[in-house]
């Protein structure tokens, strides 16, 4: 049983409850909010993890737009068991590896909570920069040069 599955069992946060809550069509924002709310119920504040994930976030954003803070927060709350592995990734920084690590975490969690699949698909979509992303980057570059 994974660490997350244990937490879910411990706090009686069943898949059924999450599925029922997400039965209507949800926006990405709502999905993340719902997820964070649910996960907050099993949160054990660990400052070290927050600092680590913030560091991941900074590094990710410095390179490409993969995740938003919401997803990072989600990982902070759900991935305490992954702390050693992610520390290792930070030490040997490689954004591609970090992305795969995050993706793997989410895939693992999705076995417990089915609507994570949608989040993963969204992440995959965002991982491939769209033509619009290029336009937005150009605008940001121009704004930075003002």
């Amino acid at each position: 049983m994974t660490a997350i599955a244990e937490q879910i069992k411990k706090y009686n946060l069943s898949t059924e409850k999450l599925s029922r809550s997400s039965s209507k069509a949800l926006s990405d924002d709502e999905k993340t909010d719902l997820f964070l709310d649910k996960i907050n119920q099993v949160r054990t504040p660990i400052d070290e993890i927050r600092v680590l994930l913030e560091s991941i976030n900074e590094r990710l954003w410095a390179n490409f737009n993969v995740m938003g803070q919401d997803e990072i927060d989600m990982l902070i709350d759900t991935a305490p068991g992954m702390i050693s592995k992610s520390k290792l990734l930070i030490q040997h920084f490689n954004t591609q590896k970090i992305f795969h690590f995050i993706e793997n975490c989410l895939t693992e969690f999705s076995r417990e909570i089915d609507h994570f699949d949608e989040i993963i698909q969204d992440l995959k979509k965002r991982y491939k920069p769209s033509p619009m992303s290029d336009e937005i980057s150009k605008l940001l570059r121009e704004i930075a040069s003002l």
Binding site: D28, I143, A144
Partner: protein, 143 residues
Amino acid sequence: MELYFTNDFYQQVARLIKKSKDGYQSCIEDIISFIDCSTLEGIVSGNPKLRKFETVQLLKIRLKNSRQKLSKRDGYRLIVVSNTKNQSLSLVYIYPKMGKYAQASISETDELNLLNKFLIESKNQTLRSFDYQLPDFLELFQK
């Protein structure tokens, strides 16, 4: 910190606060109360980054709606462009999560449009500035 807002932001706030019954009357107070107790660095590091390039970030800030007693989660999303190089924070859009004008999120197209208009207003020097004083900021929307 230099504070600015775009015409899009102005139009949206004007729409939100127009009718008291819509429940967004505290929108300006909620924005000021957030900015008043924040530093630019704190805002940049403590909020989700939609986009980033060097010193420029497009941020999404969660704000409470004190009028409807809604938490940050259910309150507003304030979209801002921050620039740590010139220590500026520009409010480019705001949308509520609940109520008549509720919006789930903003799309890439929205981001593109907001940034484009921000750039045009920056170049044309038509961005409007404001300070932390609530009465002054309120006055801008009452004209």
